[in-house]
Each structure stands twice: as C-alpha cells, then as structure tokens.
C-alpha cells in the first residue's frame, strides 16, 4: 500500500506540447481515484509518468514518501493494466500471470498458489492453459487484471481498461473492478474518458483538460459544486444546460424574462456590474414543471420541441429565449410537442458562472 503524490509535475513533448501541465494531486493510501477528461487531455501521459514509462520533465512524483522520478518501472512496485491489455501472445494465461513473479524469483509453490488465487478471483481457472488469442475480449481483459493483481503491488494503474468491451460487459466488469478494489484495498489510479465510469467507480475524481487539472473531489462534490463550466458540462449525463443572461442588481435578465434570485446566487449576480453577461447552468434532472408551489426556484418559460420517451422518464428538448434546454421529467407529466411550459429550477441547483473566466460564482 502506498500514497501517490504529483508535485508540480510537468510532461512536455518537444517545444510546444505540454501533455501534463503543473499537476498537483495527492492520492491517499488505498484510494480509488479516477483520472477523467476528454481524449487527449493528458490522462494516459500522467499515468505513464507514475508507471515510469515516461520521463518526467519537471516536478516530482512520489510513491509513498519516496521520490521516484528516476526509479525504473520495475522498482516502483506498481502494476499496470493497459488499454490494449498488452498480453504476451506467446505465453499461456498461466505464464502471462506468472511472468512478473518468475522475474522476481518467487518460489514455484508461491507462484502456483498466487496465480491460482488470482485466477479464481477472476474466474479464469478454466483458461490457464490457453493462449490469449483463444480468449474472448472480456476474458483477455480479466487476464490483464490478473497479471496486475498476482504481483500484489502497492499501486494499480489502469488505462481505460474497459474501453474495448461491449456496453453490457463494461457494466459488469466495472462492478467487478470495484469489488476487487474493496477486497484488495490497493491504491488505484484509474484513467477513463467516460464520466459515468468515473462517477460510479471513483472514491475521488480528478478532472483534466488540456493537461491541466480542473478539479478534484468526490463524485458528489463534482456533481453538486463544479468549479468551472468545463467540469459542470463534463460531469453528469445528460449534460448540464447553459444559458447566457445579463446581470441586473441581485437578479438576472434571461432575454426579456427576469430570474429572481436569492441567497448565494443573488450575491453572485450582485457581484457583477449591471448589464454584464452571466452564464447560468442547471441540470436536466433538476428541472421541474412550475406549479406555483416551488418556493425558492427560478422560472424559465419554454416551448417544447422534441419529446424522447425513456420509459419511466422523458427527455424534453425545449427552446427558451433562443437557448436549447433539455429537461428530464417523469413520463407522467404528459408534456407534448408544441406545449408552452414553465420550467422551475430550485435555487440551490442553479449554477452561476463568470462567462469570461468560466469559473463558478455560485452553485
């Protein structure tokens, strides 16, 4: 077990690519942290820096309290699951699992026992004699996991381990990895571009964009209090609605319609000069149909465009003052295309952003 610490870590490629830009992140012992962000944001690079597969350009990387910038991968006590699985094609499943142990001159009985154990945990006992090419995608994925767990390392590194699986298997394996983590309690850094994976699996989530860490926090912190427009839009599905308004005292003008604010939101609006643009954001699942009973909520009049029936819920696409708004409403609300509706957003669910810095002012 160990902590992992990124201390002002930079990774540059050549003159102008900064794949990881001043990353500061402390990962606790036994923590499962998800590194999430769109493709190309530097997640893999950050992970490879921990593995020792990329040279660190600047800053320090610590595993436990040891600076490992110049320590070879094999001496870092880490195991990595690659996106392509990277199984050794000429070795049986058993040998794939045993390879790392053999290199460490582990006793043969110990190798046998640990491989058997790992195989049992992952349901691979029947396949130990097979070569990787005789396995299905899901089985290969489990061999890759098995190869990491037999080593009993102090840190697991996983780079999009589920991205090559079909949707159903992905959900299953997601749960399997979570269970594995509960059982082993090993510090895990899990890279994914899929915010649903990050939300469901991570003790904490670190959101990256263009090499820069945006926000770190528990799934709920990120969902409830995104620090900027990017995190707000990235976390949550379907993603948050945004609309531009103008500040007017403690309130906001949404086209010709006034949004009356209170509390934190009102203070945020007040902090902007009158007439300045203010970006508001609210999640589809927080929208209700106004019925006059919501006490502290903003009302947003809209015209329904499209209704997508999802069973229990409906996804309503509506136009409001030239903005497309998506709302997730229970199906029994019986909203029809062409209806004029009044959406209500609870005050504490309304996010307010500075449109220039994109930073959150409230919410």
């Amino acid at each position: 077990m160990a902590t992992v610490t990124f201390d002002h870590l930079y990774k540059r490629y050549g003159e102008d690519v900064i794949a990881v830009n001043d990353l500061n992140l402390e990962i606790g012992d036994g923590e499962f942290i998800c590194l999430v962000g769109p493709s190309g944001c530097g997640k893999t690079t950050a992970l490879r820096c921990v593995a020792g597969l990329e040279e660190i350009s600047d800053g320090r990387l610590l595993i436990g309290d040891r600076v490992v910038n110049n320590v070879a991968p094999k001496d870092r006590d880490i195991a990595m699951v690659f996106q392509s699985y990277a199984l050794y094609p000429h070795m049986s499943v058993f040998d794939n699992l045993a390879f790392g142990l053999k290199l460490r001159k582990t006793k043969k009985e110990d190798i046998d026992r640990r491989v058997k154990e790992a195989a049992e945990i992952l349901g691979l006992e029947r396949f130990l004699d097979r070569k990787p090419k005789a396995l299905s995608g899901g089985q290969r994925q489990r061999v890759a996991l098995g190869r990491a767990i037999v080593r009993e390392p102090s840190v697991f590194l996983m780079d999009e381990p589920l991205s090559n699986l079909d949707a159903k298997l992905r959900v299953q394996t997601r749960a399997e990895i979570a269970r594995l983590h509960q059982r082993l309690g090993t510090t895990t850094i899990y890279v994914t571009h899929d915010q649903v994976e990050a939300m469901t699996m991570g003790d904490r989530i670190a959101v990256m964009r263009d090499g820069i860490l945006q926000q770190v926090g528990t799934p709920q912190e990120l969902y409830d209090h995104p620090v900027n427009v990017f995190v707000a839009g990235f976390i949550g599905s379907p993603s948050m609605n945004f609309a531009t308004t103008k500040s007017e005292g403690k309130d906001l003008m949404f086209g010709g319609h006034k949004l009356e604010l209170a509390g934190e939101q009102a203070r945020a609006a007040d902090s902007r000069p009158d007439g300045a643009s203010v970006l508001i954001g609210f999640r589809p699942e927080h929208i209700e149909i106004a019925n006059g009973q919501q006490t502290s909520a903003v009302r947003i009049p809209a015209t329904v465009d499209v209704v997508e029936y999802l069973g229990n819920d409906e996804l309503i696409h509506a136009q409001a003052e030239g903005n497309e708004i998506v709302a997730l409403l229970p199906s029994d609300k019986k909203v029809a295309v062409g209806d004029r509706v009044d959406f209500a957003v609870p005050m504490e669910k309304l996010h307010i952003f500075d449109p220039d810095s994109e930073k959150a002012l409230a919410g």
């Binding site: 020792g52 597969l53 195991a79 990277a86 050794y88 094609p89 390879f99 790392g100 290199l103």
Partner: protein
C-alpha cells in the same frame, strides 16, 4: 485473403463432386494457362531430375557407397572431421546462426537510435551485390598482400605479419563464412525489423512494468514473438547453405586442398572431371538433404494458412 484461400481450397472439391469422369470439372481456361508452365517444368526440371537419379545408379549402389564411406573429400570420418558435408554443417551453424543473431541485434538496436534508416540501408546494401562480385570484393579484403588486403593492412599497423586468410586451412572456412554473413545479414535485418514493428510497444512496456530488464525483454518477449520470421530466415538461409556454390567457387574453389569445399562445388568439380555419374550421386544426396527442409517449409505454410 481468406476468401481467396477458401476459393483455392474448394476448387478440387468442386471437381470431385462433378461426377466420376476424369476431365469433367476441369476448366479449359485453367488448362491453357497452366499447361505450358507444367510442360516446361516437366521438360527442364522433372525429366533432368529423374535422369540424374538414374545416372547416379549407373554402377548400382557403388557410387553411393564410395561417396558416403570412402570419399574423404565429401565426408571424412577421421579426426579432425572434414569434407564438404562437414563444411556445409559449419556454414549451416555459423552462417545461418550468425545472420539471425546479427539480424536480431541490429533490428532491435536500430529502433533505438536516430539513424535507423541509414543503419538499415548500410546493412542491407550487400544484398544488392551479386555473390560473384561479393566473392571478388572479399578476396581483396583477405588478400595476403597488405597493399590490397584490408585486413592484413590493418594487422600491419599493429605489427602482425600478413596472414593468407584464404590460403590457410585453419582460417579459410571462418573467412568465407564471415563474407557470407556480410552478404546475407541484411536480409535477416530487414525481415526482423519489419516483424519487430508488429510487436506493440505496450507489450514491451507491460514486461518492463512486470519487472523485466532489457535483456529479459529481448530473450523472453521479443525473440519468442519473432519465432515465425526467425524460422522463415532459418529455412531460407539453410536452403542457401545446401546450394552454396558461387561464393566458395569464386574465393577458394574449395581450397586450399579440400579445406573449404562444399557439396555444390564438389558436384561441379566431379562434373568438370567428366565423372557424370558420380556428380549425379552428389546431386541426389544434396536433394535428399533438402527434402526435410522443404517438408518443414510446406508444413509451415499450411499452418500459417490455417491461422490466417
């Protein structure tokens, strides 16, 4: 690829299923295209091959008994071992092995330096030189006269007297094999570096994270993953060795004495001496040596087809 294979393999089945008559199902167009080639093969290869076998039995089994038991130029059973068979075995071990080892090392090293293409071009260059020209070049290199002989010139600088590399029974085979490796290592390099590109870097990284040193990665991951191209090279070079003629003939004619003789050169010598039946016997033995290699090769092609 797979469709073409399927079509090729199902063709005979179709022919069979079209009833008992011999020519039914034969495609006239196919016959017209293949016919001339088959005819030429029959006249210029199959007939001479049969004639060679017949010729070799001119004196019953005598030629074979003579060649295999009483011809020290072919196979010397006394110590130290010698004869062309023995020399061919030396070539097989050191030339084939040398090309593969150098091929592996250069291919792997070349991926780690900036001048990969230049290095590969240099190693591959000798492949473009005809074996006869190669022989002439290396005769100069090995020349006992330090004014023309590169090696003796270098030795002269450190004060060693000129050595007649090709005129000395101790050195001659080594000298020839080195020239042969120089001429063929590029082939191994090119095939192996192409195959090396097919190994995903993530596999090598996985091994590195698993705790393997660069040497262990080379021995336990790279070499086994290249086993197919290595066997292709081994088979190709083995066939080269059994047929080896031009380089040895140009450089030493099998000499000094019989020290560097090989099977094909001996066959030619017997033929020149108008011992046609004995020469044919050598040829047949050569063919027999090649049969296992060919079987191995055909098997491998078949298994590859199944995989593909």
């Amino acid at each position: 690829m797979s469709t073409a294979t399927a079509a090729r393999e199902s063709a005979p089945d179709v022919a069979k299923s079209r009833g008992p008559k011999f020519l039914q199902g034969w495609n006239m167009a196919a016959l017209i295209f293949i016919g001339p080639a088959v005819l030429l093969l029959a006249v210029f290869m199959i007939y001479p091959a049969i004639r060679t076998v017949v010729l070799s039995f001119d004196n019953g089994l005598d030629n074979y008994v003579q060649l295999l038991t009483a011809d020290p130029r072919f196979l010397s059973l006394r110590w130290p071992p010698g004869g062309s068979i023995f020399n061919n075995i030396l070539w097989l071990l050191f030339y084939t092995g040398g090309c593969i080892v150098i091929g592996l090392i250069v291919a792997v090293m070349a991926t780690r330096v900036r001048y990969e293409r230049i290095i590969k071009a240099i190693v591959f260059l000798p492949m473009a030189i005809a074996a006869t020209a190669l022989g002439v070049i290396w005769r100069f290199v090995y020349s006992p006269d330090p004014d023309t002989g590169l090696i003796n010139a270098i030795l002269g600088v450190v004060g060693v007297d000129p050595i007649s590399w090709l005129g000395n029974a101790t050195f001659v085979n080594t000298a020839l094999i080195i020239a042969g490796i120089w001429g063929s290592a590029g082939f191994a390099v090119v095939i192996l570096s192409a195959a090396l590109k097919g190994i995903s870097s993530e596999i090598l990284e996985a091994a590195r994270v698993d705790g393997a040193t660069e040497g262990q990665i080379f021995r336990r991951i790279i070499v086994p993953m290249l086993s197919l191209p290595i066997s292709v090279i081994a088979v190709t070079l083995t066939i080269n060795v059994v047929k080896l003629f031009d380089l040895v003939y140009i450089m030493t004619k099998g000499g000094p004495g019989n020290a560097s003789n090989v099977i094909a050169v001996q066959m030619y010598q017997q033929f020149s001496a108008r011992n046609f039946d004995y020469s044919a016997t050598v040829a047949v033995v050569m063919l027999i040596i090649l049969i296992p290699v060919m079987i191995f090769n055909i098997r491998r092609f078949r298994s590859e087809r199944v995989v593909a």
